[in-house]
């Protein structure tokens, strides 16, 4: 590595930067000032994250025989194509429902007095940081044929026969929408908080009724939060494994489950790799759009203001 030679990496945290830079040509040292601190983490990620990732992706074009056979198979086989379709439709449905549920929650948090709002945010954070497996297990028990929800509905006379809500699409969508709500609420609430309430007053003095004001002023102003939250949830949903594997059935397998199945059950690394490549590609493309929606870079302009 060329930069190690010219950067004062020996001392922790670039501490000796000013001292050592006298010894080497200043412009280059200046150019890489402080970069040395990245080396441990870069080595770690390079060795244990990037290399295996590239290795995995290569297997898709090398195994069992070099070529694009795995990709052909992935798109040509109707069972596999259905996995793809499933992945997208589940992610789409989950995004839709978590938006529908997250929007009123974010709105109410913005509207209620601060103390209340903080409590509601705490509930959202609690649900976000509570064990994913524990929550999924809980839904499994709640939604099963003899579960509380079915029993309650039966007792109320709304249904005569228990609804099938696990090991199918319904279960996956309920469980995953539940898990994704915080990822909608947090960015959306931040967007709503930033809206100047006077703008809504302006809308109403201009003659807009509460409903008109909502649809023509408030909702358009929430759009950035809705888009970025929704996109984030969609991307995350594409890659979820635990919840679909537990709450879904064999007929609604999603791409992540498919990849694991190919590796664990069929030892078909080539096909798994092709699936992984596809998933990464879609994820990164969507994430690129997500970043485009973000107003500023997270590391840039740190000292500008």
């Amino acid at each position: 590595m060329k930069m190690t030679a010219t950067t004062p990496t020996g001392s922790a945290l670039g501490a000796a930067g000013a001292v050592c830079s006298k010894a080497v040509s200043p412009p280059l040292a200046q150019r890489w000032r402080g970069a040395g601190n990245l080396i441990p983490a870069l080595l770690f990620l390079g060795l244990f994250f990037l290399a295996p990732l590239i290795g995995l992706l290569l297997r898709g074009v090398l195994e069992p025989v070099p070529g694009l056979g795995n990709y052909e198979q992935l798109f040509a086989n109707s069972a596999y194509a259905r996995v793809l379709l499933n992945t997208f439709s589940v992610a789409g449905l989950v995004t839709l429902f978590s938006l529908l549920l997250g929007f009123p929650l974010a709105w109410a948090i913005t509207l209620v007095p601060r103390g209340w709002g903080r409590w509601m945010l705490n509930i959202v954070l609690l649900s976000m940081w509570t064990s994913l497996l524990a929550r999924t297990y809980s839904w499994l028990v709640l939604l099963q044929a003899s579960g509380v929800i079915n029993k309650a509905l039966l007792a109320m006379g709304i249904i005569d026969v228990p609804l099938e809500m696990v090991h199918n699409l319904t279960g996956v969508v309920i469980g995953m929408s539940y898990i994704m709500i915080p990822f909608i609420v947090l960015p959306l609430q931040a967007t709503m908080q930033a809206i100047d309430p006077m703008i809504l007053q302006a809308g109403s003095i201009c003659g807009a009724s509460p409903w008109t004001n909502f649809f023509r002023v408030f909702l358009p102003l929430c759009r950035p939060g809705l888009f970025s939250g929704g996109l984030m949830v969609f991307v995350m949903s594409l890659g979820y494994y635990v919840t679909p594997a537990l709450l879904g059935g064999a007929q609604n397998m999603m791409l992540p489950e498919f990849i694991i199945q190919q590796v664990q059950s069929f030892l078909n690394w080539g096909l798994a790799s092709a699936g992984a490549a596809l998933l990464i590609f879609i994820t990164l493309v969507l994430f690129y759009f997500y970043l485009k929606l973000q107003p500023e870079s997270p590391v840039g302009a740190s000292h500008a203001r």
């Binding site: 601190n37 539940y178 809504l200 992984a276 990464i280």
Partner: protein, 269 residues
């Protein structure tokens, strides 16, 4: 207030609050339900339970498999936290303070494990460790967990480091401290909330990690989520509810600690 009382009709507001109440309950329902269930006496998870009991807790704590899993989970989480902070701290300094080309790109690289689906990381790392013969080792668990915990620690530390005015560190140097002393005596205390938050995130990520762990696990070494996962696929025994409650309990504890740290720094500021 977003819409003043007059700009929003009463019916609209009541409707919103009612909907929100229901959604709030929906968020809490599975969490509360699972905790209650762990104390219920029904083997078949009948709810409301016919009676209350601690026998599932007894079963959990007397079963060496569960206990070993819990212990392993704790060990992995602690080690992951240590390594994630040790790697994340210098990286955050470099990303915030450094002035070198490609900083944005490197930041992207460091947050990539957050974006790449877990399943893919799991399969990729699994393939590597399979080749090296490391699957089922503590090493494999910790390494794989650090990969996904690292972005969380780096982001938290970066956030607090960006809020810290570097001229304060310069002032310490003018006062006679070496740069290293200044960093340890002035900067670290100032960014401690970010470091603590980063550590807590790393701990929670590892503590709750399923996908990576399932791939790394062996019959002799498994974490609590792995044990839950394998048990779940066979039956829904209430002992899983006990394990879930413990997972939830620790998450809540960590959140309370995080809130306490945040409040202390807020009142000090």
């Amino acid at each position: 207030m977003l819409l003043t009382p007059n700009a929003m009709s009463r019916r609209m507001r009541l409707g919103l609050y009612a909907t929100t109440g229901l959604i709030g309950l929906f968020l809490l329902l599975p969490i509360v339900f699972i905790v209650l269930l762990s104390f219920g006496s029904s083997q078949w998870l009948v709810f409301p339970p016919p009676g209350w009991t601690l026998k599932w807790y007894g079963q959990f704590f007397s079963n060496t498999d569960w206990m070993n899993a819990a212990l392993a989970s704790l060990k992995v989480a602690v080690l992951t936290t240590v390594f994630a902070v040790a790697l994340g701290l210098p990286s955050a300094f470099a990303l915030v303070r450094g002035r070198f080309p490609g900083r944005e790109l490197l930041y992207g690289l460091f947050t990539l494990p957050m974006i790449v689906p877990l399943v893919i990381i799991a399969v990729a790392v699994y393939a590597l460790f399979l080749k090296l013969g490391y699957t089922g080792t503590m090493f494999a668990f910790v390494v794989s967990h650090v990969i996904v915990a690292l972005p969380f620690t780096i982001i938290s530390i970066i956030n607090s480091l960006k809020l810290f005015d570097q001229s304060i560190e310069d002032a310490a140097v003018i006062c006679g401290a070496s740069r290293l002393q200044a960093v340890f005596k002035v900067t670290f205390p100032a960014i401690r909330p970010g470091m603590v938050a980063g550590a807590l995130f790393a701990f929670l990520v590892s503590w709750d990690e399923v996908v990576l762990s399932v791939m790394m696990a062996s019959p002799t070494l498994q974490t609590l989520p792995v044990k839950m996962w394998t048990t779940l696929r066979q039956d829904l025994t209430p002992v899983i509810a006990v394990a879930s409650t413990l997972l939830i309990g620790l998450s809540v504890l960590v959140m309370v600690i995080a809130a306490a740290v945040r409040r202390r720094t807020e009142t000090r500021a």
